[in-house]
Amino acid sequence: MRAIILIKWALVSLLSLTSCFAQASVPQRIVSLSLCTDQLLLMLAPRQHIVSLTRGAVDPDLSYMAAEANGFLLTGGNIEEVLPLNPDLIVGSAFASRDAVHFLRQLGYPVKLIGLPVSIAEIRDLLLAFGEWVGSPERAEQVVRKMDWQLANLNLQQDRVKKTALIYSSNGYTIGSGTLENVMLNAAGFHNLAVDMEVVGFEQITLERVVAAQPAFLFIENHIDNSDSLASQYVNHPVLDKMLLSKQREFIPSRLRACAGPMVVEAINYLYENHHDSKP
């Protein structure tokens, strides 16, 4: 009899212990190491659980969530700045601060990294996974539903023949298949000529090939506006202004495309509204 009571007691205490763990698994002190995780945190996590963001988060040119980022502690994403904050979850981008992440994991901190989504489906997966990490899956589902609804209601008039386009950015890079930018161009009714050139991802192409491709729209993306650099000499080369039949346009602003998220809808809309519809 006594033994049964003892077992019962043990079971009960075990149960309460596991529920206690479940409670603790919702992170209370989240630290972000990158611009993209900054924005996801602001979209999905409860504000009181966010401890720090990175400096880019408040820059309206870079961050879609700049207005919401005010009032948080900002860091440069370095280990030394992050450790004293005693985080119980560190989120970052898989492509930035690789060494820092390795070190933090060795020290036993839970680190979650986001990848680089290259399709709408992958953005959906990212939002849902991130929602799970920060303990607000319902909020994530809500954001995804809203994004899907907006995408379905974009109401873009598609031409029978897609207009040709080519992106040319600082340092002579163009953007080809397997990228979110390519998805955005297609969704907005453009045919990306870089795909015909068999460009996968980001690749440098020469000015000659840009001129020879003769895109109907040449999307120029200069990462630095007013300072001299060799990188911007590519996009400032006089031949681009003289290109025949091509209209030169600014590419999607950084705040809409630097990171993947529901702002993809606005990015597609921007391409469509500002470029596709405008007749010469």
């Binding site: 000659e208 650099s229 080369h237």
Partner: protein, 333 residues
């Protein structure tokens, strides 16, 4: 008589080679052009895709390769004559790096808007500082070892200062672009880049050529040159200004393209029977040929243009440098 004869033969041969490699460089590129369309653009002033690529991209690139190659060749010959040292070359003794430092300071901190000549002038001033330093550190007609050591010191300091300037420059790409300044390239340049350096290169080149007879006299020593009626002080400065004007301008738009000034005078010296005056003009043409052909190699080897021109010239020049050291090891002791 026979000497003159062969000298003119060399001149004509190099000139033909230079024009030939200029046209080969114009042909080289990722897009194949219809020459008929370019002809039509010249005759009927009718712009086309081909004429656009030809006049806006290829022509500036080839002209720059020609001008910069000629500059490096003639300045190498002039420096070797002036310092009476076979290893004097703008890259090795630090002139190019100092010119690049001057250009970097002006370019990345927004001073290029001040005047069209701000960039080449900055390159010129940087180069001038290095030549003065070389004179102070190594002196005239010093041993080769001293000259090389002084060159290493100046190169190191200029390289470090350049990296520091690029670190502090107000743009995110500056640090990546150190590769350009250290290795050099003529890719993606426009007509305006050519125009800003032409006056400096012509001025510097003419100054150097006007010192030809002085260089001949200098082979006999400064005192002899002076007794022959040359104003050594004035002529030496004229030569220095000539070298820094053209090297400074060339480096300020194309970066530090190495070894041409070393290789070309050495290769051509036997052809002009070790005559320093004649070496000047043949080195200019030889340098142009080498840089044009190096640019052709860049175009053939990389379609994206990611290979820097200086990589090719260093691959040619580096082993040659080693060969010179091995060959002269006994002489230099």
């Amino acid at each position: 008589m026979t000497v003159n004869h062969s000298y003119h033969g060399v001149l004509i041969g190099l000139f033909v080679a230079m024009i030939g490699s200029f046209f080969v460089d114009l042909l080289a590129g990722p897009v194949s052009l219809q020459w008929f369309n370019i002809w039509a653009a010249i005759i009927e002033n009718k712009a086309s895709l081909d004429s656009l690529i030809f006049f806006e991209i290829r022509l500036p690139r080839a002209i720059l390769a020609l001008l910069v190659g000629a500059t490096l060749g003639i300045s190498g010959a002039a420096l070797q004559g002036l310092l009476r040292n076979p290893l004097a070359e703008s890259g090795i003794i630090g002139v190019s790096n100092c010119a690049a430092l001057g250009a970097v300071l002006v370019f990345y901190f927004g001073f290029t808007q001040w005047a069209w000549f701000a960039l080449p002038l900055a390159g010129l001033l940087g180069a001038l500082v290095s030549v003065v330093l070389i004179f102070l550190l190594a002196g005239r007609s010093s041993s080769t070892v001293t000259l090389i050591l002084a060159g290493i010191a100046i190169n190191t300091i200029a390289g470090a200062l350049m990296a520091m300037a690029l670190n502090f420059a107000p743009n995110p790409y500056a640090m990546q672009e150190i590769v350009f300044w250290l290795l050099g390239s003529v890719a993606n340049r426009s007509v305006s880049d050519v125009l800003i350096i032409v006056p400096f290169i012509v001025f510097g080149g003419l100054l150097i050529l006007s010192c030809g007879r002085f260089l001949n006299a200098l082979t006999l020593g400064e005192e002899t040159a002076s007794s022959l009626g040359f104003n050594v002080q004035v002529l030496r400065w004229r030569l220095v200004v000539g070298v820094v004007a053209c090297v400074g301008a060339a480096v300020s738009v194309c970066g530090n393209i190495g070894f041409i000034g070393l290789v070309i005078p050495h290769l051509l010296r036997p052809l002009v029977r070790h005559d320093p005056q004649r070496l000047l003009s043949v080195s200019a043409m030889g340098g142009a040929v080498l840089l044009l052909l190096s640019d052709v190699a860049v175009q053939v080897l990389s379609s994206g243009g990611e290979l820097k021109l200086g990589v090719i010239t260093s691959l040619v020049g580096g082993p040659f440098f080693l060969y010179l050291i091995l060959k002269n090891r006994n002489v230099w002791g």
